[in-house]
Symmetry: C2
Subunit: 302 residues, 2 copies
């Protein structure tokens, strides 16, 4: 059973219990380009009380560097070292865990940020933002050839330029080479944007998942690969750490699987019917607040 917090006393007790605060971003700190009310005060309050702050996002369309510039634009203090994205975690996974040969490439269904993170890890790739693969022109196998050496992995993230050529090429690589890894940066079904909900990275990789009848290895939340990636850079005591997010099946499950506490906010994609009633999710957060911004009352007592 979750504890619902609605009072400053409750918020203060919560904050006293933890040293490390891991935040999901979309739907928690902002929606699209709109910062949620009170968020800046809350983060400043945590920093002034010497809390460690980490941003843990499945957003794979931005590199950490680009993501940092988003924080800057929105007026939220953050450093690149505090930001863990699924694009970064995917690049680390490919270079450190899969250790694919240096002369083999990754085929990318994804955006510039994902390419940046791969490049920083020294991973060769194709697809992504290459104009040749960003087209609605018909795709034909008669002019398609497999590269030598073969593609070592298909990595699929959110790609708002998704098209039939990319899906078809990725399918060829995965069908042709049984050793080709099928990876997803994350499997979020949707994400909260300004004005509503849009298809997430999981909806993009679903094309290949369905065509192949095979599931990708997913790197982002809720999978532990992301937490391994954080642990390699930051010491934290799970008993004194809380994961704050808007999604039960990614953020909250991620926290629970990683043995840290969890706080659900209702400013993202989770609806009241997802946590109560007959269709409630089996994933139960430790705490629930309406908005993380509500904790700003601590920074600005009446």
């Amino acid at each position: 059973m979750s504890t619902r917090l609605t009072t400053s006393e409750g918020y203060a007790e919560l904050i006293a219990k933890y040293d490390t605060f891991m935040f999901d971003c979309d739907g928690v700190l902002w929606r699209g380009t709109d910062v949620i009310d009170g968020i800046i005060d809350v983060l400043n309050y945590l920093r002034s009380h010497n809390k460690s702050i980490l941003f843990v996002t499945n957003n794979a369309s931005s590199s950490r560097r680009y993501y940092k510039s988003k924080f800057d634009k929105l007026g939220i203090q953050a450093s690149v070292d505090e930001i863990f994205g699924s694009a970064y975690a995917s690049a680390v996974y490919i270079s450190s865990v899969l250790k694919i040969p240096k002369d083999q490439k990754v085929y990318v269904i994804g955006m510039e940020g994902l390419e940046q993170e791969l490049a920083e890890e020294g991973i060769q790739y194709e697809g992504g933002t290459d104009p040749a693969d960003n087209t609605l022109a018909p795709f034909s196998l008669t002019t398609f050839t497999h590269p030598t050496p073969p593609i070592a992995a298909v990595l699929c993230g959110l790609d708002v330029a998704i098209n039939y050529t990319k899906i078809s090429k990725a399918l060829q690589y995965l069908l042709h080479n049984p050793d080709c890894h099928f990876l997803a940066t994350n499997e979020d079904s949707t994400y909260p944007a300004s004005g509503g909900i849009l298809p997430g990275a999981g909806a993009i990789s679903a094309t290949l998942r369905y065509a192949l009848k095979r599931d990708p290895v997913s790197i982002g939340k809720p999978n532990s690969t992301m937490l391994d990636c954080i642990r390699a850079k930051h010491d934290f005591d799970p008993a004194r750490t809380i994961m704050i997010g808007d999604r039960l099946d990614t953020d909250i499950l991620f926290g629970k699987s990683g043995g840290v506490s969890t706080l659900l906010v209702m400013t993202g994609v989770t609806k009241e019917s997802d946590i109560t009633g007959p269709n409630a999710s089996p994933v139960v957060p430790g705490y629930i607040v309406q908005s993380l911004g509500d904790l700003a009352v601590l920074a600005n007592p009446a």
Copy 2:
């Protein structure tokens, strides 16, 4: 246990048993634009023996009329009345079963043939080949508005111009209006093209299926809607009818569910390991031939 036929005696006995021959097309009669050897002789042989011939295809990118022109180009005799496509069956389903109000539109993820069949049934639609929705430009909810009256159904078929705008709009319609029907022309995961295998209609609708965590109502094979559609136009005795196809999970399952006999050909997407060995499909065809074209030996005895 399937009966494998490899001799002219076997082929002749098979043909004597049936009056109505239902054919899948891609992977059975042709691959892409290549007619499979012997097919024309086999079809002519059946016609000369007064067999009824029906072409039952999940291909939803072509209207029956356009499909007829493909038969013509490939030199295969066919009439529009003999052709049943999932685009046609979808249009009939929307007009005759769903009976959506005349002033409400269908949002189409699909190609020209699907639009043609909808138009012939007097169904209003948007999306499809509309240039406004065939773009790789970013999609934003801030400039998106819901039409009045709302979209009555999202119909998803194979769309080689699939893109994020179409997926996002379809998602909005389905999220916004709980009465909006979610339909798929068919759910083929892939289809056999010249030179290999490409993502099918099921891989396209998989995006929405994943984003919504909801399955579409699928019209094409293996579902009975397609058979109902054929029955409304043609009398056939199921005991004297055989369905010939290259896919276990569509063609063969369709035949078995409809109570007709089934013949699997190996010229399409099914591999030997799909019918024998530890990973064999639970869907077992009545008969197997390597190629439908092998039956041409009857037309051209040595």
